[in-house]
């Protein structure tokens, strides 16, 4: 049962891609489907990375331990969509115009920040396996994977710098990351006890957990 739910979540994470492919090939992805693909993959990449971060404090609040088994999956899906975002940039947006890409990389801060975020994602994806956790040792692995907080921040800045006017979503993601980070940096036990104990009790009573 647990296994089945896990695979359902795994498949659900592919839904954004499936929708994009469908919309792209049925001419429902705006008049500029290439640009839309670029934006869409970036949005989902950031979304998954932020959801991955939210899971840990969410477990603290709800006490749902099973959430943690999805953290790696969600995080890797974040890497997956960010990779598609980068591919869309090179192939669909820039159409392999390497001189233009090089100019972007050296001149435009939001491109540099976005690319830095991608480069930092690579070691995290590579060390995401159980074998690598063992090889690195839990302590080192955790230290390395603190980058998971830095990367979405870079992503949100990248997003904020490129929009023309509407900063709603960059601010939304930025705020969410800040809250998650605050919950992690402040002693989590204190926070959990002070802020969530009463909440948790009420919930348990009302929902019969």
């Amino acid at each position: 049962m647990r296994r089945a739910v896990y695979w359902m979540v795994w498949a659900a994470c592919l839904l954004p891609l499936a929708c994009a492919v469908y919309w792209f090939f049925t001419d429902q992805f705006t008049a500029d489907p290439f640009k839309r693909t670029l934006q869409y993959m970036g949005e989902w990449g950031l979304r998954f990375l932020v959801i991955g971060l939210v899971l840990t404090p969410l477990r603290g609040i709800t006490g749902w331990g099973w959430l943690m088994q999805y953290r790696r999956t969600i995080g890797l899906y974040g890497v997956f969509y960010v990779t598609l975002h980068l591919l869309a940039y090179v192939v669909l947006d820039q159409t392999f115009d390497w001189p233009a890409i090089l100019k972007d990389l050296t001149k435009r801060p939001y491109i540099m920040i976005g690319m830095a975020a991608f480069v930092l994602l690579v070691p995290l994806a590579v060390t995401s396996t159980n074998g690598m956790i063992k090889r690195l040792g839990g302590r080192n692995w955790r230290r390395l994977h603190r980058l998971a907080y830095v990367i979405p921040i870079l992503g949100a800045i990248h997003y904020a710098l490129l929009v023309k006017l509407d900063e709603t979503w960059p601010i939304f993601y930025g705020t969410l990351i800040a809250i998650v980070l605050a919950l992690r940096v402040l002693p989590p036990k204190q926070i959990n006890k002070k802020f969530f104990a009463s909440f948790l009790q009420k919930r348990r009573k009302s929902l019969l957990f």
Binding site: T30, A31, D32, F34, K35, L92, Q94, T95, D97, A100, K103, D104, R108, Y110, L161, L162, K164, L165, D166
Partner: protein
């Protein structure tokens, strides 16, 4: 290796006005009759002869022109104008033309639809590096300005969009300073390419494209083409323009299409023509250099971007 298309518009591309003047004489009465009872929300046919197509430039299909718009009065999204502009009522509609002129006049839209309408197929280059080819229907702004007789102190023309938050949901937030305002130097305004458009593809403008009347300056970035105009003011000083107020380092007063002057955050060297995959080289003054370059002789276009 990219092959640069030499694509200066030819004489034949710009519609000969006399051609239409003749037709208009015969058909003006009929057109006025046809337009008198039209429902503004729906597109109504306009009486014009189609212009010759641009070489190397296929006109963009109407559904793309009406579904991919920057019209922040109706929201930030490209599809918001199509979704929300339907509520805009465009009748009655008055355009006040005043300021430094002998005969300030308030025109009803019905009068403006009776001007000498022509089709002009123009390239349209957005500052966001995408482009379309649009068969506008309209009349030269110069024709309208001639009616009010600008005085010697008229150096600039200022334009204003309708301010009606009840029908323009985007105006309920301070996303831009409303109403949208734009401006041209008088010689730009008087240039024959400068059009007040009232239609696309031979029919009245869809609301999301700036109904019932909008500005078209094909050698400038699209945001200069102010939509749903209610006021035109002749004045001595350079008018404020909305995007310049919002981000003066990114959007200049002139906003001439220029592949050599990048937007601070992206390159303007190339553009994606809607419907095409390979990006095209952006042309100086959007391919209208022959006609408009003399307007800017001696000016530093890097500074006056």
């Amino acid at each position: 290796m990219l092959i640069r298309h030499v694509n200066e518009p030819r004489e034949s591309e710009v519609t000969d006005r006399r051609l239409y003047a003749g037709r208009r004489g015969i058909l003006a009465g009929g057109a006025a009759f046809a337009l008198a009872g039209l429902t503004p929300a729906r597109a109504a046919p306009l009486d014009v002869t189609p212009a010759a197509p641009l070489p190397n430039d296929k006109t963009t299909p109407l559904d793309k022109i009406t579904s991919y718009n920057n019209f922040y009065e109706f929201g930030y999204g490209k599809d918001d104008p199509e979704a929300y502009a339907g509520k805009l009522t465009t009748r009655p509609w008055l355009v006040v033309v005043d300021g430094a002129c002998q005969k300030p006049t308030t025109f009803a839209i019905e009068d403006l639809l009776r001007m000498n309408l022509q089709q002009r197929i123009y390239r349209h280059r957005c500052v966001e590096a995408w482009s379309m080819v649009i068969p506008w229907v309209g009349f030269p702004l110069a024709d309208l300005l001639a009616k009010v007789e600008p005085t010697g102190s008229a150096k600039y023309v200022a334009f204003k969009t309708l301010l009606r938050p009840a029908e323009m949901p985007g105006q309920r937030s301070a996303s831009l300073s409303w109403p949208y305002v734009e401006g041209l130097r008088l010689d730009e305004a008087m240039h024959d390419l400068t059009l007040l458009a009232v239609g696309i593809y031979g029919e009245t403008l869809p609301n999301q494209d700036g109904a019932p009347i909008r500005l078209v300056t094909p050698w400038k970035y699209g945001f200069k083409g102010i939509k749903s105009i209610v006021a035109i003011h002749l004045q001595e000083t350079q008018p404020a323009t909305t995007w310049n107020i919002e981000a003066p380092n990114e959007y200049g007063f002139y906003a001439n299409v220029n592949p050599e002057v990048d937007h601070p955050r992206w390159s303007q060297a190339k553009e994606r023509r809607i419907g095409e995959f390979s990006r095209r080289d952006t042309l100086m003054f959007n391919g209208y250099a022959e006609q408009v370059a003399p307007l800017y002789a001696g000016m530093d276009l890097r500074k006056n971007f």
